[in-house]
């Protein structure tokens, strides 16, 4: 067994991060509220269009896109505080799928594709990725979808699940096998017949995802991304998604703990504020400690994300820490709200559902631990 402590990331912060933290904290707090989110949940297709427009106008979808493509030219480290604040308010904007799709193009797109699509993303926001399939596997190479080259281009057969925010997306990064080899394509959303999309029922009602049936869909040859970079790009997609999901969950854990602490400070039973009972007090303290540890892991991941090796280790640790922090805080939040906690009106369930959602999309705790075992021991 070899174990290298240097494989563990360190922690630091950039001025831009601080700046974006300030802006994002204020914007997200002022732009939305849980009650607003609850309203949108029931009516919308899982999208806060107004907030989404603002994000686009502020250029947030371009934070980690180079200036040559119209982006801000910063790194994912600066996208982290933004995702954290978005998650803190459960804001219904496709920041993660869009940023992930953009990173995929940056890493695996042809020059022509980058020139065409990256500016579009900066301009319009919405993009997404279509990777997971009905086998439910976390392994992005574990797919059935096929692309066969015909006279008009690549003819697709298969289906994707959990394609986030597809209805509003303009661009979709898609995986399919060519002669048994996994490849990535950029799919122009206009090509998708509405009959091919089905809105899915998710545990997290603040999110939207779709099943996408690909049978018969034909992609132009130009849709194929750089074949030689497939593996690296899939890895980039995986880690980017997990980094930002961790940020959303850390933000969510903060709100969930604040929400519960407020209740413990005001609710009385047996003539005493329930927050004075150690069974509740000490447990919420444990949840808080878990949140702070997760936040440290998150900023370490943001800081060392681009370092070979360290980046993956730090990101998976952050994903584990964030998932545990939010899951535990929200599970206890439901319990500690007593009867009210069992109602739909109590926000605790929103946070618990959010944690389950993120523990599903790009790997759960056990999956990340398997990866870390491979990375740290051998």
């Amino acid at each position: 067994m070899t174990f290298d402590p240097q494989a563990l990331g360190r922690l630091g912060i950039t001025e831009e991060q601080v700046e974006l933290m300030d802006v994002a904290e204020n914007f997200c707090r002022d732009k939305t509220s849980i009650s607003a989110v609850r309203e949108l949940m029931s009516v919308s297709a899982g999208l806060d269009e107004s907030a989404n427009r603002d994000l686009t106008d502020m250029g947030w979808f371009g934070i980690a896109i180079p200036e040559e493509y119209g982006g801000v030219g910063l790194s994912l480290a600066e996208a982290v505080p933004v995702a954290e604040q978005i998650g803190r308010r459960l804001m219904m904007v496709p920041f993660i799928p869009t940023t992930v799709a953009a990173q995929a193009m940056l890493f695996g797109g042809t020059q022509a594709q980058k020139d065409t699509y990256l500016p579009k993303i900066v301009e319009h926001g919405s993009a997404t990725v279509a990777l997971s399939e009905s086998n439910g596997s976390f392994n992005l190479n574990d797919i059935e979808t096929e692309a066969v080259l015909g006279p008009e281009g690549y003819v697709l057969t298969g289906a994707k699940i959990l394609v986030e925010n597809l209805a509003a997306a303009k661009i979709v990064v898609l995986s399919a096998k060519i002669n048994g080899k996994v490849r990535l394509f950029i799919l122009d959303a206009d090509l998708i017949p509405s009959a091919a999309m089905r809105r899915e029922i998710l545990i997290d009602e603040t999110k939207s995802a779709y099943t996408l049936t690909l049978d018969g869909l034909v992609l132009p040859k130009s849709a194929l991304m750089d074949e030689g970079k497939t593996a690296a790009t899939l890895q980039r997609i995986d880690l980017t998604a997990n980094l930002l999901a961790s940020a959303e969950q850390v933000g969510g854990a903060q709100s969930c703990i604040d929400y519960t602490v407020d209740y413990l400070k005001t609710r009385k039973q047996f003539g005493k504020l329930i927050g004075s009972y150690q069974a509740l007090k000490h447990t919420i303290v444990d949840a808080y400690v878990s949140y702070e540890k997760a936040r440290s892991l998150l900023y370490a991941a943001a800081h060392s994300f681009e370092d070979q090796g360290k980046g993956e280790v730090a990101t998976r640790m952050a994903a584990i820490g964030a998932g545990r922090a939010l899951s535990f805080a929200a599970d206890r939040a439901i319990q500690f709200h007593g009867g009210f906690g069992f109602t739909y009106d109590c926000d605790a369930q929103l946070y618990r559902r959010r944690a389950i959602f993120h523990d599903s999309l790009f790997g759960n705790t056990r999956w990340h631990k398997q990866k870390l075992t491979a990375l740290l021991f051998n």
Partner: protein, 393 residues
């Protein structure tokens, strides 16, 4: 009287033939999880069938609608019902709370009036103990009952009323004397009709997104005094007695079961179906769940063996709810981690694993770790009543 053996044989035959299978909708595991009219109507009808076949209330007196047999007969039938994993008996408050109480301390008139409807599920019974402001502190119930001639006039509200919007009667804990020496002494226990003016129920949406409980509002509602059980001021004692029926600490229930307990085998099947069973770490976790399930199952067996519980006779009964409900929450939560990306789905999603059953079960599990005394309250009770530790409040 038919022998217990023959009665068990009849039951075996009847449930083998009549237990409904392959429904096209999901049945709730507990009476508290009845979320749709479809589920409700189905279960109500099912209880009636079981009653009419003679396998519910078999030990209750025949003159009131019972089977006139013995507890041994009913236990045999209930055992068969469990073996066939039949749908639950849904009129639980009547079968396990109100019914036994009425048979124990009710008047002849009460028995004639209520028992048959409880068994046939024609009369749905509700429980009215908790109030919005006193979730854990039942003894502090504030719903006011003012005597006025042959009526009580009720004002206040009760919450977590299971089947509230279907309810015909409620066992109500009301405050008849606000000036009593202590909060408990001011309470009375009243069998209350819910179909009188001034009683309004409002559905509560559960964290699962489904309905199930109601809040029940009483505004100058007049109910007959003859619903009073025992005497005024005895409400707390009687309420505690009904809890003993519910916990099985006291006999007299109609039989059957209203809660299907989680079977660890189910999660093993999930782990196998999703292939997660091949992960040694998962197998290691599952072993813990099997051990936990077996411990709880054995606790139940040991609780019946005097010499093995003499050190703490009340220990096993009092920890049963805590241990089982926390285990249910934990195992259902764990099940979500066995579903890969599909654990992002929820009930009614075609792609969902087992139709989202695990997600719903996890969220519903909180009704048991919160309702009927939270797990935190349960630990206080065990600490104080079994270990003799000082009170925490």
């Amino acid at each position: 009287m038919i022998s217990v053996e023959d009665f068990a044989k009849d039951a075996e035959k009847w449930f083998a033939e009549n237990t409904p299978r392959d429904l096209d909708f999901m049945l709730p595991l507990t009476f508290m999880e009845v979320g749709t009219d479809q589920q409700f109507d189905f279960l109500r009808d099912w209880q009636r069938q079981v009653y009419e076949a003679g396998f519910l209330g078999a030990a209750w007196p025949s003159e009131y609608g019972g089977g006139g047999l013995t507890d041994a007969h009913q236990s045999a039938a209930t055992k068969v019902m469990r073996a066939h994993n039949v749908p639950i008996m849904m009129n639980t408050i009547g079968l396990s709370w109100a019914g036994p109480l009425i048979l124990d301390i009710g008047s002849e008139a009460h028995k004639k009036k209520y028992i048959r409807g409880i068994l046939s599920a024609e009369d749905i019974w509700c429980q009215g103990f908790s109030e919005p402001e006193n979730g854990s502190d039942l003894g502090n119930a504030q719903l006011r009952a003012v005597r006025d001639g042959e009526d009580y006039i009720l004002n206040g509200s009760k919450i977590w009323t299971t089947h509230g919007h279907y309810g015909k009667y409620m066992i109500l804990l009301a405050r008849t004397n606000p000036d009593a020496p202590n909060k408990y002494a001011g309470l009375s226990f009243i069998l209350t009709p819910m179909d009188v003016p001034g009683v309004r129920t409002q559905k509560i949406r559960k964290l699962t997104g489904e309905h199930g409980f109601t809040q029940t509002f009483f505004e100058d509602a007049r109910v007959p005094v003859d619903g009073l059980m025992g005497a005024e001021g005895m409400g707390w004692k009687i309420a505690m007695q009904t809890l003993e029926y519910e916990r099985g600490a006291r006999g007299g229930q109609a039989g059957g079961f209203s809660i299907t307990e989680p079977d660890p085998l189910e999660i093993l099947n999930l782990a196998r179906d999703t292939g997660q069973i091949n992960d040694p770490v998962v197998r290691d976790d599952l072993i813990d769940y099997i051990i936990e399930a077996q411990s709880l199952n054995l606790n139940g067996q040991r609780a019946k063996i005097g010499p093995l519980i003499r050190d703490n006779p009340s220990g096993l009964p009092l920890m049963d709810k805590l241990a089982k409900t926390e285990f249910a929450r934990e195992i259902n939560q764990y099940a979500l981690t066995l579903q890969g990306t599909k654990s992002a789905y929820y009930v009614d999603e075609p792609n969902a694993v087992d139709g989202g059953w695990w997600h719903r079960s996890y969220l519903n599990a909180f009704s048991a770790t919160i309702g009927g005394g939270t797990s935190q309250i349960q630990r206080n009770i065990i600490g104080e009543h079994v270990l003799g530790l000082p009170k925490s409040y």
